[in-house]
Amino acid sequence: MIRFENVTKVYEQNARPALDSVSLEINRGEFTFLVGASGSGKSTFLRLILKEDKASSGSVYVAGQNVANISSWRVPKLRRGIGVVFQDFRLLPQKNVFANVAFAMQVIGKSRSIIRETVPEVLKTVGLEGKERRMPHELSGGEQQRVAIARAVVNRPGILLADEPTGNLDPITSMGIMGVLDKINQNGTTVVMATHDDDIVNEMRRRVVELKNGKVIRDEAKALYTSMIPVVGESRRLRDASGEELNRAQGAQL
């Protein structure tokens, strides 16, 4: 579903590549966690899938298509096949729950009758039945994130990207959100979730891809947030070491 072939991304102002020859394949229907410290390249990874950024070298394939070959006027079509959820929900504050979800269908020209039929269904999937008329500020953080998820999946994308969706939520609410994402994944949607939340990763036991300084340093199925297996090569020890050691290592790199 998603394939990275030796992908490197260099932002001009930054000498160190945000992604450093990453090769990775995520299959259809898989649930993958993307873990790693801030600045390890998780967000860049997601942005490349959306064609928000262009890879400096290497190829990114989404649903069998090399995104570099997608012309700019066909990018919207690519994005219709990908749902995205963020840490800060990004709901429209002046629209109610129903309108927020319907918005995603309106802008791609879905008919009113289809919208009226689909939106309540999706709201039911994410557990927001009966809250169609609520405004975003009347909802809890977890509920707001559920609205955001509903909006991301209402057009039935094959892929759902989640960029730290539980970053603003307490552990119990987070587990609720994970339940929703799991349900969506069970319905056949490929889910890629970037996260810092070790509890969630450990609880879910799904594939874990760990990035560090733009490189994949671990890719394990049914894994934990921190690996049980010692990693060859690249300073596994530093990552697990005390904060002091970590800082020294980063300082040495600058």
């Binding site: 959306l50 994005r79 990004r90 995603a104 802008v107 791609i108 879905k110 909006r151 057009n155």
Partner: protein, 304 residues
Amino acid sequence: MRLLFILGEIGSGLRRNLSMVISVVLVTFVSLTFVGAAGMLQMQINQMKGFWYDKVQVAVFLCNDGSTAVGCASGSATKEQQANLQAMLESPAVKPYINDFQFESQAEAYKHFKEQFSNSPIVDSVSEDQLPASFRINMKNPEKYEIISETFSSQPGVETVSDQRQVLERIFSWMNGASVAAIGVAAVMIFCAVLLITTTIRLSAFSRRRETGIMRLVGASKMVIQLPFILEGVIAAVVGALLASVTLWLMAHFWLNGDLSRQFLNTPFISSTQVLVIAPVLVALGAGLAGISSLLTLRRYLKV
């Protein structure tokens, strides 16, 4: 559905930026009024040219009692002098240059004078013998005025040869100057309008960046995202253009065809329906300017 959606977006955009939209409307209104005024002046010049160039040509004025010109030393022009001039006009040396000519006697001159100044008290102070008789010559090519002037001005009984076109040319050049000035003001105002539209669209794009960001992520097409912004600018500019058109029409209707045409009975003024020719040009100009400037702004400030 998408059309309704876009219309809704436009409505909310216009409401949110109401004060900016009003300023865009006013600035385009003023600038396009100047453009239209320049256009009207040109139309007026053409109208007057068409009207007068047929009628007013070269006039050879004959001496009357009060004349002081060299050729008038013997006093008022005699019948012989008049016949002589007429013969010259019909001679092969002059004839090829003229279409036809007419003799206007003092009595006729007085009659025309009275018609022309019917509203003015000056009529009462002018008597028939104060006005000169004249040959009114219709030239084949008005530019060849010099030939007539050289041939006739030194003839006995001729007071002066005047190219009445020159009088008109002076009026026309004044009107041309005015229309250039109007275009100059219009250019400055249009520049302001473009800057203002650019700023408005930028603000609008900024205040709706949340929506456009989401639209982008869920795969809305470039058109659906950008069209509301572009149309916002275009609608404001078109409203300004319509206001300008209405203003020009009112000016033509109540001023040119009202007060002015009562004062200058013999001047053909452009009609208010002729102004309606300018209106579509103004609307197209306003819409085009707004469309292009918003498109360029969006390219810079709205990522799609």
